[in-house]
């Protein structure tokens, strides 16, 4: 019996060896050495089942704050968490920056852009998109948890609409809206504000507009082909949503990265993988922006106030003249994730040149910078000829430009509220506002190919980017002398 057992083991070992040897040998010959790639789905959060709140929130609710109160009974930390976020504060923490003495705090609350220019004094309109109730003036109570608007992100977006100062519009049935919560936060929730920034569909970003509610896979492979939600990438914990808008990024923030899900060197072709140290994924994979709905690329405030035919895409009396563009070819700059400079009220400008409000930081010698695609919004905005500072008009309400069409009055009122001087002499200066392009990624077949950037008709200006010439011939930035 012992001998049999030995034979059995010996025979089996031999047999296994006889089978495994050729499998291994041919496997090696076959070059089966493909390295395992990251599984993108591993990062995507599982959808949680909807919790039906209908019986939990019987109502009826008189005021929106009553809804918040009811929410907080079960989710006692929710408001406190929200109040830590910039979605609530509209103001970032102060940061020491190289271009000024004292730390700088930026955010919608205090900063400018070159669309509607600034919110101070214009609150009720602008704060329609604030996730709170009743921000009408400078005295809004940021410490009152009952002012937190839970419904805007959690109620069925078909049942809930915000109006001036962030209050729900008149006909909203608060009870019905409250009872509808519990489902996932969808593209509709985020899109209501983020697709309509700047006063309308697609005005601001170029890569975010209402076409993303129901995108085809050609428009956005993530949301179209795989039906991803914003929060699948902008992962949220304790109401802190991952991501960082460039327009206010004084520091490199916790940005959403392609590499959260994808390999850092995801291509089959080594030549392509060789690009990733210097070129952002977006540079090739966002070949054009505003591919379905047009985006605003130029806004001339100086022509506002005239009585001439109006059209949403070309001229409005209250705003001036515009240019919208569809299928826009991005512009390319080095970017390391923060701004090189951010205009703050009172900063001096050089009116002979365009004012770069939030230029991206980084250059060819910055190892953390990559070439990124940008949409640039160019706008002629008012400035003080004598003090050489940008000015913010009061637009909404009494004395506002949109009511009285009096620049001098609107700028004077605006300056008072913002706290900047105004000489009474104003003119308009061109300003640039930068948006990195990262959404609306089409399927890989539509990515740029070599000759889109390289060669005589390429879209990159190598000299401007700091290269001695086309890197195909002159080498990449690693070959530069220090």
């Amino acid at each position: 019996m012992r001998k049999q057992g030995f034979l059995l083991v010996f025979g089996l070992v031999l047999t296994l060896a006889a089978i495994s040897f050729p499998v291994v040998a041919f496997g090696l010959e076959n070059g089966a050495t493909s390295t395992a790639k990251k599984d993108p789905w591993a990062y995507v959060p599982r959808a949680r089942p909807k919790t039906n709140h209908a019986h939990l929130l019987p109502g009826p609710f008189e005021k929106p704050q009553d809804v918040t109160k009811a929410c907080l009974e079960c989710h006692p930390d929710a408001a406190r968490e929200i109040m830590q976020t910039t979605h609530w504060t509209w103001l970032d923490k102060p940061v020491k920056v190289p271009w000024r003495e004292e730390p700088l705090a930026v955010g919608k609350r205090v900063s400018n852009n070159n669309f509607c220019i600034g919110i101070q004094g214009n609150w009720p309109k602008c704060t329609t998109c604030h996730i709170g109730y009743g921000w009408r003036d400078a005295n809004f109570d940021f410490e009152n948890p009952l002012n937190v608007d839970c419904l805007v992100c959690h109620a069925d977006p078909a049942l809930y609409v915000k109006g001036e100062a962030g209050m729900p519009v008149q006909d909203v049935d608060l009870t019905a809206a409250a009872q509808s919560v519990g489902g996932p936060v969808t593209r509709n929730h985020c899109g209501k504000c983020h697709f309509n920034g700047g006063g309308g569909n697609g005005v601001k970003h170029g890569d975010l507009d209402e076409s993303l509610y129901f995108p085809g896979e050609d428009l956005d492979v993530h949301m179209g082909r795989y039906d991803l939600l914003c929060t699948d990438c902008h992962k949220t914990e304790k109401h802190q949503i991952k991501g960082h808008a460039l327009s206010f990024a004084l520091e490199v923030g916790n940005q959403v990265q392609c590499t959260d899900c994808h390999d850092a060197h995801p291509h089959e072709d080594d030549r392509l993988n060789g690009h990733v140290d210097a070129v952002a994924c977006q540079a090739c994979h966002v070949p054009a922006t505003a591919r379905k709905d047009p985006t605003k690329v130029f806004w001339d405030w100086s022509t506002a106030g005239q009585d001439r035919p109006e059209d949403h895409f070309t001229y409005l009396k209250i705003k001036g003249s515009f240019i919208y563009e569809q299928n826009l070819r991005p512009e390319y700059y080095w970017w390391n994730g923060k701004v090189r400079y951010r205009y703050a009220w009172g900063d001096k400008i050089d009116p002979s040149k365009p004012v770069l409000i939030n230029p991206p930081d980084g250059d060819i010698r910055d190892p953390n910078a990559k070439i990124w695609p940008f949409k640039i919004h160019r706008a002629k905005v008012p400035y003080d000829v004598e003090y050489k500072i940008l000015l913010q008009p009061k637009t909404v309400g009494e004395g506002g430009f949109w009511v009285e069409f009096d620049w001098d009055k609107a700028l004077r009122l605006g300056a008072e509220i913002v706290g900047i001087p105004y000489s009474g002499k104003y003119d308009f200066v061109e300003s640039w506002f930068f948006y990195p392009q990262t959404h609306m990624v089409p399927p890989k077949e539509q990515a740029l190919q070599c000759n889109d950037c390289h060669g005589p008709n390429g879209r990159l200006d190598w000299k401007a980017l700091g290269y001695p010439g086309d890197p195909v011939e002159w080498g990449g930035r690693d070959t530069l002398n220090p």
Binding site: Q4, L7, L8, F10, G11, L12, L14, T15, A17, A18, I19, F21, P22, V23, A25, F26, E29, N30, G31, E268, D269, E445, Q446, Q449, C450, N451, H454, G455, P456, N457, V472
Partner: protein, 919 residues
């Protein structure tokens, strides 16, 4: 010779210093001049400014005469060297032969190059001698062969004298001119027309005006051709039939102002002017359909020289959405035409083939100043096609394998080296062309305007925008490369039909065809309409413009006879045009094994030649220098196809040797029939015997050791697996969802399993002495074999006991011993060795070829596979011949067998057994 080069170099050095200084100043001057009017300001133009000179060496701004490139460019560059080192200029004039002596040429050709070699697509025939039947004299050729850059035969006579020295003489083919208007042969005065010097601007100026150049040639103002090329550059403007110089572009000395200077290295657009559709703008690619002979490679093959994606083309291409690949991956990746087709002494690319073996790189090469002084204008070319042009430059270009690491990228491909040995890279990497190409050209009934009827391949409809461009799959023909290695490569085949006359034959000239078919105002003659008008509506439809019947053919032949062209007859020829560009990105390369390893292999797929061939003619396959037609032309009702043959290769899944198939099939089917009949008879006999008593006594014996059983079953699995995978490799149309590559790997793995199993078993049997079991007895074998055979054929039906009884010491009967002896000593080794040889072809295809090649080895392997299958059938059947049908199989599983007891032993125990039965 070396001496000479050295001495000129020494004499030249002060001059070279000057050149360097001029270059340096040129750069500074360029920088100072700031913006140039050029649309592309990026590359700094090195070229210094210079004076445009006329043929007498005077500034053209002063004289107003045509620019002489020889005098102008020759001021700094060695034009003597350039003109004699430029095939683009000479086009075969340097190798003129006797008429009909060109290897691989027509009987009327007298040069391997376009100057003297007739091409049926262009038709016009440069006549070797002047006379009343002359088609073209040299001046006609200069006008007609529009892709010639000048120089060569446009400056020198066939005997090498300057053409301007020749007296106008209508009997000299260099000075005879057939007036295309009147049809008369006249004398041409080269002094009056001037000669066409090599046109430097055509390649060295951005956006040269080719149209103006062609018009100047057509009007016979040869000397102005180079100047006309600059029209639109800001330097010259057309004024009537001459060109005037823009005074703002030149300074007082006649030197061009740097802002106007655009001399450059040739770009893809320059090459594309003559060679095909190049595309570098941001606009969508659209290939013209129709008479696009100037885009020569595009017209003849459908190759489009563009880096743009095909799915962004402006053409209506079938299945376009899926074609997210560039037309040509090299262009997409910024490879320029001149990166492969470089000047042969360009120090960047220069390859020194004659270096000794111990050198990897020879740094001694011309420096840049030498090169700029004497740039060779002979360009590297591959070995493609039947084109006999520039034979001395064959193989000067780097081929795919000289830039790409084939080894590193093809590990996924089974039998990598074998594939490389038999297939050119283009075969898989240019699987399809996506623009139309000429398929058929018919001159036998010319269309209005004296154009041939052209059938395009890969186009349904009239043009590439409204019609549907389907593209085409090129045909694969064996092509020899410079090393003599023959591999399959993709081609387009162009069939041409035309009239020839006389003996030795000549093509009937165009002017004669015009006379025969058309009236003076260009309409078809009434007799032509009467002859061809099939539906009697008095007009000729496109379908009627061909010779459909013998009567029509004979009538036209008679008309030609009457016009003085005796023995008029139709010839058809098939020319192969090589496809080497439009290389796909890797994802679009051919990777489906069954594309070739299948019954309808693309290696042998019929290639359509001509749908409307005229009556009474058969297309001849035109043998070229490198390509071989291994198949044949077949005709079905004027519809001609080329059917490739790959008999020189053995392609698994496609190639079959009929007798092997038949013998193998017979063996297997015969065995099945035989055992079926045997089984039927056994069953019938058993039924009869049922009534009688069965008194066979059985004894359980431990017959097979564990190891023997493992060996047996492993072997069984391996052999069955080999037969199955082998069958599917041989006939890939079965279970086509299994990856072919997987079958190949599985087959090879199983083979090694079987081999190791056999080796271990051999060791076991030798070491244990069990090998005796398999050795037939030396004495009495034949009688014993007879006994066993008699048992199977007779005794078994009568219920007789087995003639031999199994014991632990003797398990096999004599027939088994003989069979296994055969199997193990003949069949298994043959199968193993042939299999190993086939596998050897993976790594050393050359060695395999020395041993007879796959063509010999593979059919043997197939034949023995069939025999193995037959054996398995027999083997399994015979396992049922034990006491019970399952006895033997059970024994091979458990090791224990119920063995019949020998009769001797039984006799002594009869009593006890009958007692037991009684109980």
């Amino acid at each position: 010779m070396k001496e000479y080069v050295l001495s000129t170099a020494r004499r030249r050095w002060p001059w070279m210093l000057g050149l360097v200084l001029v270059l340096a100043f040129g750069i500074v001057g360029w920088a100072a001049a700031g913006e140039t009017p050029a649309s592309n300001p990026a590359p700094a133009r090195m070229h210094p400014t210079f004076v445009f000179l006329d043929a007498d060496g005077n500034p053209v701004v002063k004289t107003g005469r045509p620019i002489s490139t020889i005098k102008t460019c020759g001021a700094c560059h060695d034009v003597g060297f350039i003109t004699t080192h430029s095939y683009h200029a000479t086009l075969g004039q340097e190798s003129l032969t006797q008429v009909g002596q060109v290897p691989g040429g027509h009987p009327w050709d007298f040069s391997p190059g376009p100057f003297g070699r007739w091409n049926p697509l262009l038709y016009d025939y440069l006549s070797p001698e002047a006379g009343p039947q002359m088609d073209m004299g040299t001046p006609n050729w200069v006008q007609s062969f529009a892709r010639h850059i000048g120089g060569g035969p446009a400056t020198l006579s066939r005997l090498g004298q300057p053409l301007t020295l020749l007296p106008p003489d209508p009997t000299n083919p260099d000075t005879a001119y057939r007036d295309p208007e009147t049809g008369e042969v006249k004398a041409w005065d080269w002094r009056k027309s001037g000669v066409v010097e090599m046109n430097c601007f055509l390649c060295h100026w951005p956006k040269p005006n080719n149209q103006a150049r062609l018009e100047a040639l057509k009007q016979g103002r040869f000397a102005w051709a180079s100047t006309a090329t600059l029209e639109g550059s800001g330097l010259v403007t057309r004024e009537g039939d001459r060109w005037a110089y823009n005074p703002a572009a030149f300074d007082e000395q006649g030197e061009i102002r740097s802002a106007f200077l655009q001399i450059q290295a040739p770009t893809n657009e320059n090459c594309g002017l003559c060679h095909g559709l190049t595309h570098t703008t941001q606009e969508p690619v659209v290939a013209p359909a129709g008479d696009w002979y100037t885009a020569w490679e595009t017209a003849t093959t459908g190759q489009v020289f563009a880096g743009d994606k095909i799915n962004e083309s402006g053409m209506n291409i079938a299945g376009k959405d899926a074609l997210a690949r560039p037309w040509d991956v090299h262009l997409e990746r910024l490879i320029q035409c001149t990166d492969c087709h470089y000047s042969l002494n360009n120090p960047i690319y220069l390859q020194k083939e004659d270096k000794p073996e111990y050198l990897l790189f020879d740094p001694r090469r011309p420096d840049f100043s030498d090169y700029l002084y004497r740039p060779s204008h002979d360009f590297a070319r591959g070995t493609s096609a039947q084109h006999t042009v520039a034979p001395e430059l064959r193989g000067t270009m780097r081929r795919c394998e000289q830039c790409h690491s084939v080894e590193a990228t093809h590990n996924w491909l089974p039998y990598k080296h074998r594939h490389m040995a038999k297939l050119s890279c283009e075969t898989c990497h240019i699987p399809r062309l996506y623009a139309p190409a000429i398929g058929e050209v018919d001159w036998t009934v010319p269309c209005k305007g004296m154009r041939p009827r052209i059938a395009l391949r890969g186009l349904e409809g009239d043009d590439t925008v409204t019609g549907l461009v389907t593209g085409y799959e090129p045909v694969l023909l064996p092509r020899k490369d410079i090393t003599g290695r023959e591999r399959l490569a993709p081609f387009n085949l162009v069939t041409a039909w035309y009239w020839v006359y006389g003996e030795p034959p000549r093509p009937v000239p165009k002017w004669a065809l015009r006379q025969v078919f058309f009236t003076d105002d260009g309409e078809y003659r009434d007799r032509v309409v009467q002859l061809l008008d099939g539906n009697g509506d008095g007009r000729l439809t496109p379908d009627e413009m061909r010779l459909r019947t013998e009567e029509q053919r004979a009538t036209v032949a008679r008309w030609l006879e009457e016009a003085g062209f005796s023995q008029a007859r139709i010839m058809g020829e098939v020319q192969a045009y090589s496809v080497n560009h439009d290389v796909a990105t890797p994802e679009f390369a051919l990777k489906d094994c069954r594309a070739c390893h299948a019954r309808d292999s693309r290696l042998a797929r019929p290639f359509h030649l001509a749908a409307m061939g005229p009556e009474g003619a058969e297309p001849t396959l035109w043998l070229g220098a490198d390509v071989r037609f291994s198949g044949q032309v077949e005709n079905q009702e004027h519809d001609w196809v080329y059917r490739p043959q790959v008999a020189h290769l053995y392609v698994f899944g496609f190639s079959r040797v009929p007798w092997v198939e038949w013998v193998g099939l017979l063996a297997v089917v015969g065995t099945i029939l035989g055992v079926s009949a045997h089984a039927g008879m056994r069953i019938a006999a058993a039924r009869k015997r049922m009534k009688g008593t069965q008194d066979v006594r059985l004894k359980r014996v431990y017959l097979y050791s564990l190891y023997e059983r493992i060996w047996h079953w492993l072997q069984a699995v391996a052999i069955l697996g080999l037969l199955l995978t082998g069958y599917l490799i041989h006939k890939p149309e079965w279970l086509a969802w299994i990856p072919y590559k997987g079958l190949v790997y599985a087959h090879n793995i199983l083979a090694v399993v079987l081999l190791l199993d056999a080796a271990l078993a051999l060791f076991y049997h030798l070491a244990s002495g069990e090998i005796r079991q398999f050795l037939p007895p030396t004495r009495g074998f034949f009688y014993q074999a007879y006994q066993q055979a008699r048992y199977y054929l007779y005794g078994i039906f009568r219920g007789e006991p087995h003639p031999f009884h199994k014991t632990r010491e003797r398990k096999l009967n004599p027939l088994q011993q003989a069979t296994y002896f055969m199997l193990l000593n003949v069949m298994l080794p043959i199968q193993g060795i042939t299999g190993l040889l086939i596998w050897l072809g993976w790594h050393r295809p050359d060695l395999l070829d020395k041993l007879g090649g796959l063509k010999t080895i593979a059919p043997i392997h197939t034949l023995f596979a069939w025999l193995f299958a037959a054996f398995i059938v027999m083997h399994i059947y015979l396992t049922t011949t034990g006491p019970a049908p399952s006895t033997y199989i059970k024994a091979m599983i458990t090791g224990w067998e119920d063995v019949e007891e020998p009769a001797r032993e039984r006799a002594t125990e009869t009593v006890s057994s009958s007692q037991e039965e009684g109980a």
